[in-house]
């Protein structure tokens, strides 16, 4: 059975219309990128889908049931540092499992699995202040994939990283996604990142935000930034969104 995520929302903050009847669906295990300029309401959309803010109109449903953090397994990878500084790497990864009251030995097993998957062996008992920015984001990703998520939202998770680390992390997140098979919605303003990661890209307009285009990306993986079709697609996205 497929777990389809249906989004159909409008969002207003006072008189400001941020999202204007935005409707799309995400198939099970799909890797979807939401692409838009800075300030176009991408973060609002992601927060709304995760239930962090209530939407003014419409709904987000998973298999027809309104998305609810208590019933569904949702996860979020934030752009800003989101690890709890008072917890070690291991104890940060288990937050989602702990909240859902998973049995302790099952938590240990899954945390260990995730630590190996993101390559943090030997750093289990480190505190966030002792590890680099890239490793912190690895922990945040491990935390998101540790729960068997119905939907993982990633809001520009690599925006604060340097270029090399960013490239490594993009490959990493794909590797983990292919292994864990989860539905991922990845928000970004970076064209290359979208083309490199996504199976499908939804291009958003400026506020009030609507869907400008939806593009399937059928390039073979691993994708090559220099491939002519990669470049052509990137160019097409640039035209859709306007240069910046």
């Amino acid at each position: 059975m497929s777990r389809t995520v249906e989004v159909d929302v409008s969002q207003r903050f006072g008189d400001l219309v941020v999202l204007d009847r935005l409707a799309f669906s995400i198939a099970e295990n799909e890797f979807l990128c939401l692409l838009g300029r800075s300030g176009c309401g991408k973060t609002t959309l992601a927060n709304l889908m995760a239930g962090l803010i209530p939407c003014s109109e419409g709904s987000v449903t998973i298999d027809g049931v309104p998305a609810d953090p208590r019933r569904h397994e949702l996860a979020f990878v934030f752009q800003e540092p989101s690890l709890w500084p008072w917890r070690t790497v291991r104890n940060n990864i288990k937050i989602g499992l702990e909240i859902k009251r998973v049995a302790p030995d099952e938590i240990d097993r899954r945390v260990q699995e995730m630590i190996e998957l993101v390559g943090l062996e030997g750093f289990e008992d480190y505190y966030p202040y002792q590890i680099s920015g890239g490793m912190k984001q690895r922990v945040a990703i491990a935390r998101a994939f540790a729960v068997d998520a119905d939907l993982i939202l990633m809001d520009e998770p690599f925006a604060a990283l340097d270029a090399q680390t960013r490239t490594t992390m993009q490959a990493e997140v794909l590797r983990i996604w292919e292994k864990r098979k989860t539905t991922v919605v990845f928000v970004t303003h970076n064209l290359e990142e979208a083309v490199y990661l996504a199976e499908r890209i939804i291009v958003l307009t400026e506020k009030p935000t609507r869907i400008k285009a939806s593009l399937d990306v059928d390039l073979p993986r691993p994708r090559d930034f220099g491939h002519p079709r990669f470049i052509a697609l990137r160019k097409r996205l640039g035209e859709l969104i306007g240069t910046w």
Partner: protein
Amino acid sequence: MKVDAEVLKAPRAAAGATAARRGWPVRVLFHNVAAALAVLAVWQAATWVVHSVFFPSPLQVLRAMGDLWVNGDVTGNSLLTHIRWSLLRLLAGFSMGVVVGVPLGLLMGLYKPLYTGTRAALEPFRFIPPIAWIPLTIVLLSGFSRYVFLIWLGAFFPIFVATLVGVPRVELIHKNVATVHGAGRWYILTRVVIPSVLPDILGGMRVGMGTAWMTIVAAEMSGGETTGLGRMMVNYAELLRIPEIVVGMILIGVLGFLMNEVLIRIEKRLFRWRWEVSL
């Protein structure tokens, strides 16, 4: 798996810092003993200069301390009895300050209307020094309850205010992590809010401990029970016996210092996850 090079350095540096923080290395201990001896030397020198019967030397004070310990004071209470009562009152009042101050600070920090709606009724009490309550409590309360109430007053506000101002510093993103995974209020309170505010609470407790000592001595001096270091000092002041008074002063200083050290140890243990900034 590729791991950034600078990361591999971090654990070793961190391990070194932890070792330095743990306990007192011999060198630090030596410095502190030397500093204490220097203070004694200055004191001794001052007694030669002043040369008055009302200015006792360290040796006279030490002798007085031994005498008080072995034979007890003029009222027949031994030094240990005085110390024990002062500590008992202090800990009882201080614990109540924590038990009331922390939950109230959390509650008012989390539900702002509760604070903004009552601050005009609450805040003026903060500016009435605990000592100013002594006359009223002499009339209304007696014995142990009076001391505990006064110490509670002294310890409560620093702890309450530190907790209150700590709550807004809880980072929204840390709370959001829990919310996304479906956490309830209790989980967010115990796993996000309290760990975030704990450093502020401990800071407030250290300030509160200082106020508590200030209050206990004043309260004991104001009369009532026959025990307590403050009481003992007043008894000897009436007899113009200065060495015994100084014994009381020194004990208050040393006991306060030791209790503060205990709190610092607790802080270091609890907050291993924090950077320590030094210049």
